[in-house]
């Protein structure tokens, strides 16, 4: 999947359009629907996870119950059979969606795993968009030598096949952790997948922002500000940022969606979230080998990912329509 923004001749939205945007958004039923779905997912994972543990079955995501039993239809059934097959989904409080090979409750892991996937997706998107905004702005406005260097750097990351770069970085960091000066990150920290995913997609944000800034800097209001004595930093903060705000917001939403998928892919390849911490991606990775006897382990987290990412994509799409119906910002996931 390529993440790519194509933007042609967009006109910057005028100020005061927030109210207009909200009205357009409100009138779009799929947008409202997706926002609700997203809200539901977040609620289920954040306050919902410990709630489920308290109310339904009192064991957390790390509780391994290989030698345990559950009661089903009056029989005592082992959570994990002698041949290693875990119990499947059923109408019971404990192991509603069944168990995994270590006897852990899939439903509980799904909820806690959702937290991690959402955190990683969101955090990496923030870092990515933040960096991309910074680089794109500086590159586009200052031009010249700075622009050359930054653009070449962006080209470099862009040209490196995304998954190869991500996997290479993640593998090397996972083996030894990160040590830059006083900054030390352990190899089993979540910061590693967050950083890797963020860095890999920076060009997808920086390039279109740069393009937008280049066309903006020739505009009259920018010239006016410069004439009034505003330095480059001032111009970037007060004049340019508000005008790329809507594009950035849309990109943020779509990149969160993209990063959740990337986290899943990296975890599936074994170089994402470290295995003791559940995430939707590594639940799939660990469940995949049991797909014939315990398909729920693979199917459930995949559906969770799909729901979340669809709603984010639809939301991003709707945001773009609402904020700037004439823009052609496309961020492909």
């Amino acid at each position: 999947m390529t993440l790519e923004a194509v933007q042609a001749g967009a006109t910057p939205t005028g100020r005061g359009g927030v109210a207009l945007a909200w009205r357009r958004f409100r009138r779009n039923p799929t947008a409202i629907g997706s926002a609700l779905v997203l809200l539901l997912v977040v609620l289920a994972c954040f306050p919902g996870a410990p709630l489920w543990v308290d109310v339904a079955c009192h064991h957390g995501p790390a509780f391994q119950n290989i030698n345990g039993y559950v009661t089903q239809n009056g029989h005592r059934v082992p959570v994990v059979a002698n041949d290693g097959t875990p119990i499947g989904p059923g109408w019971r409080a404990c192991y509603l969606l069944g168990a995994d090979a270590n006897g852990r409750d899939l439903m509980v892991r799904l909820l806690y795993g959702g937290r991690v996937s959402l955190e990683v997706g969101f955090a990496s998107a923030l870092v990515c968009v933040g960096l991309g905004l910074l680089i794109g702005m500086v590159s586009g406005y200052l031009g010249g030598f700075t622009d050359s260097i930054l653009s070449r750097l962006m080209d470099l990351i862009w040209a490196f096949p995304v998954y190869l770069l991500a996997v290479a970085l993640a593998t090397s960091l996972a083996l030894g952790g990160l040590a830059i000066g006083p900054l030390r990150v352990s190899s089993t920290s979540l910061a590693i997948p967050i950083l890797v995913i963020a860095v890999v997609y920076v060009p997808y944000v920086a390039r279109p922002i740069r393009g937008q800034v280049i066309s903006l800097r020739r505009m009259e209001f920018v010239e006016a500000a410069v004439a009034q004595g505003a330095g480059p930093v001032r111009v970037m903060i007060s004049e340019l940022t508000p005008n790329v705000a809507s594009m950035t917001l849309v990109m943020l939403t779509l990149i969160v969606a993209n990063n959740i998928l990337t986290e899943a892919a990296l975890s599936f390849l074994g170089v994402g979230v470290p295995i003791l911490t559940p995430s939707w991606g590594n639940i799939i990775q660990q469940g995949y080998n049991l797909i014939v006897t315990a398909p729920a382990l693979t199917i459930a987290p995949g559906i969770a990912i799909m729901l979340t990412v669809v709603s984010l994509n639809v939301l991003g799409d709707a945001l773009r329509d609402a904020l700037d119906p004439h823009s052609k910002v496309r961020v492909k996931v």
């Binding site: 041949d83 290693g84 003791l276």
Partner: protein
């Protein structure tokens, strides 16, 4: 030895379900359906290239399995399954060697008329055996360690001598004599494994797996063509004629091995009738159904293997015996057996059941988590940080996560489970810089004798900085001495009894490991395939196989 990595991402690898221990049916059976029929082509599959087809370099079961069919040595293991495979018989040697000088000198007479396959074609000479062993030192073979106790070997390795003085090969009288520095009862085993197989003098000191000019052997089969990542074809060796009952001719005419078939594909193709046999185990998720639906085509072979967690005695908290014992008390071996699909024997011993009288099971650490917690508290190790290492080949990650849960529950602070790809895990484990605290481990026999396990893995005198196989850094002088003494004894019941004793003492005094399982290998084959004789070193013997329909 280690099994070569199944480099396929989703290889569900080693484990899988079913059965109650290794007493399941068809353990190491042969020809159930009548007597062998000659002829036919075996359609085989393997997930990735066999590690090497060079007897001097190959050190994984896939390579050895092929070499067993294409090459021979002075001696061979009996081609039978179960305890019988430990019997050593003469192969290219005319008889068992005469052992003199207090067990330090072995003299063999070499048979005449055994010829190498095309294009070398000539008869095997004693100098070929000497050349084979010297070559090990020149190619950086992983097997050199078995032959360093030959007089002059170390000097040769250090380039201080032109040849190994302790090997005297006389082509005129057809004899070859080995002089050892110290007596070593298992030397006969060292001569029977592929590292000592005959290699024509002049074979270059580099990997000849893809060089047909030198990739020759004396066995019933020869490599007709080998295209890495695609296929490997074995055909009958025209220069072979059976010279001893210990090395029979093969039944099959040809063996076509397709490279790159994943375990799941293999199962599907076998069901569809396009594949007769696959090198690797049946994936976990298919075993139960296959067992139920095709009982005559599924086999559960006992590998001579020990699967365990090794604890590094040089790293806190595993420096304390109490902590190591606590882990042994806290682990439920039945739970681990479930994770491994019930395929194998749960046990606390180092040596596997296939080792005959050297295997004397004991129960020093019955499951007792409360006692484990107490031991940890007494040792003052509560809250100690631990990181677990594991390979990514299933079900090792699951087993390691189970261990993580156990360690947390007895009061240790598990910081994480470090998962490395199978292709790099085993080498990384042995690297000096790695030094894990506790790691998933397994060991399969090189040859069926206690020395192979115990001397390699538990003798503190063998600890080296690089490539250290004593991963727990066990270095108990009492044990070391017992091991050295036992090595000098001749093979037999007395020697086996000593190994069993050392095994138990190790877990009692040192407890550097958490041994939990001796694995079995689940296989699924076509209904036409018979004659599956399974040994620990070579797995199914290719020359014994036959097809009832071809």
């Amino acid at each position: 030895m280690r099994l070569s990595a199944t480099a396929v991402l989703l290889a569900a690898g080693l484990m899988l379900a079913a059965g109650c221990g290794s007493s399941s049916s068809s353990a190491g059976s042969s020809s159930p359906a009548g007597s062998p029929v000659n002829g036919g082509t075996l359609l085989a599959g393997i997930p990735s290239n066999p590690d090497h087809l060079d007897p001097g370099i190959s050190y994984a079961v896939e390579g050895w399995e092929i070499l067993e069919a294409t090459d021979n040595g002075l001696l061979t293991f009996k081609k039978a399954s179960g305890g019988a495979q430990a019997t050593i018989l003469p192969d290219i040697a005319t008889a068992m060697p005469s052992v003199t000088d207090g067990g330090r000198t072995y003299t063999f007479h070499v048979r005449t008329g055994v010829r190498f396959s095309p294009p070398v074609n000539r008869a095997v000479q004693p100098s070929d055996f000497k050349y084979a062993i010297e070559r090990l030192f020149r190619v950086g073979s992983p097997g050199v360690g078995f032959y360093t106790d030959i007089v002059g070997a170390n000097a040769y390795a250090a380039h201080k001598a032109a040849a190994i003085s302790g090997i005297v090969a006389d082509d005129a009288t057809h004899t070859i004599t080995f002089h050892l520095v110290n007596p070593d009862g298992a030397f006969l085993d060292d001569i029977a494994i592929p590292f000592a197989f005959a290699v024509p003098v002049g074979t270059p000191a580099k990997d000849i797996s893809t060089d047909p000019r030198w990739r020759v052997g004396t066995g019933p089969y020869m490599v007709k063509s080998y295209v890495p990542n695609q296929e490997l074809i074995l055909v009958r060796n025209p220069n072979f004629h059976q010279w001893t009952a210990a090395s029979p001719n093969g039944h099959l005419n040809e063996i076509d091995i397709k490279i790159g078939i994943t375990p799941e594909q293999a199962v599907n193709e076998t069901i569809d009738g396009q594949l007769d046999w696959y090198f690797e185990a049946v994936p976990a998720d298919r075993w139960t159904q296959l067992r139920a639906k095709y009982p005559n085509q599924t086999y559960l072979f006992p590998r001579n293997n020990v699967t365990y967690f090794s604890m590094n005695e040089r790293k806190y908290p595993f420096t304390k015996l109490a902590v190591r014992q606590a882990v042994n008390y806290a682990v439920s071996r039945t739970a681990l057996l479930k994770i491994f699909g019930g395929q194998g024997t749960a046990s606390e011993t180092v040596l596997p059941p296939g080792f005959g009288s050297a295997y004397q099971p004991y129960n020093l650490y019955p499951y007792d988590p409360a006692k484990a917690r107490q031991l940890i508290r007494q040792a003052g190790a509560e809250g100690a940080k631990v990181q677990i290492w594991t390979t990514n080949a299933d079900p090792a990650p699951q087993a390691s996560q189970y261990l993580a849960g156990v360690l947390s529950s007895i009061g240790l602070n598990v910081t994480g489970v470090k998962v490395l790809d199978d292709g790099v895990y085993w080498d990384t484990l042995l690297a000096e810089s790695s030094d894990p605290q506790i790691a998933f481990n397994h060991f399969d026999q090189d040859y069926p004798e206690g020395e192979d396990f115990i001397n390699t893995l538990l003798n503190g005198q063998n600890i080296v900085k690089v490539g250290n196989n004593d991963v727990s850094n066990t270095n108990d002088p009492v044990l070391n001495q017992m091991i050295d003494q036992t090595m000098r004894m001749p093979l037999g019941a007395a020697r086996n009894a000593m190994w069993a004793k050392i095994d138990r003492l190790f877990m009692q005094r040192d407890a550097g490991w958490v041994p939990f399982l001796h694995l079995s290998e689940p296989k699924f084959v076509s209904p036409n395939l018979h004659g599956l004789v399974f040994t620990g070193s070579y797995f199914e013997l290719l020359p014994e196989m036959w097809l009832s329909k071809h």
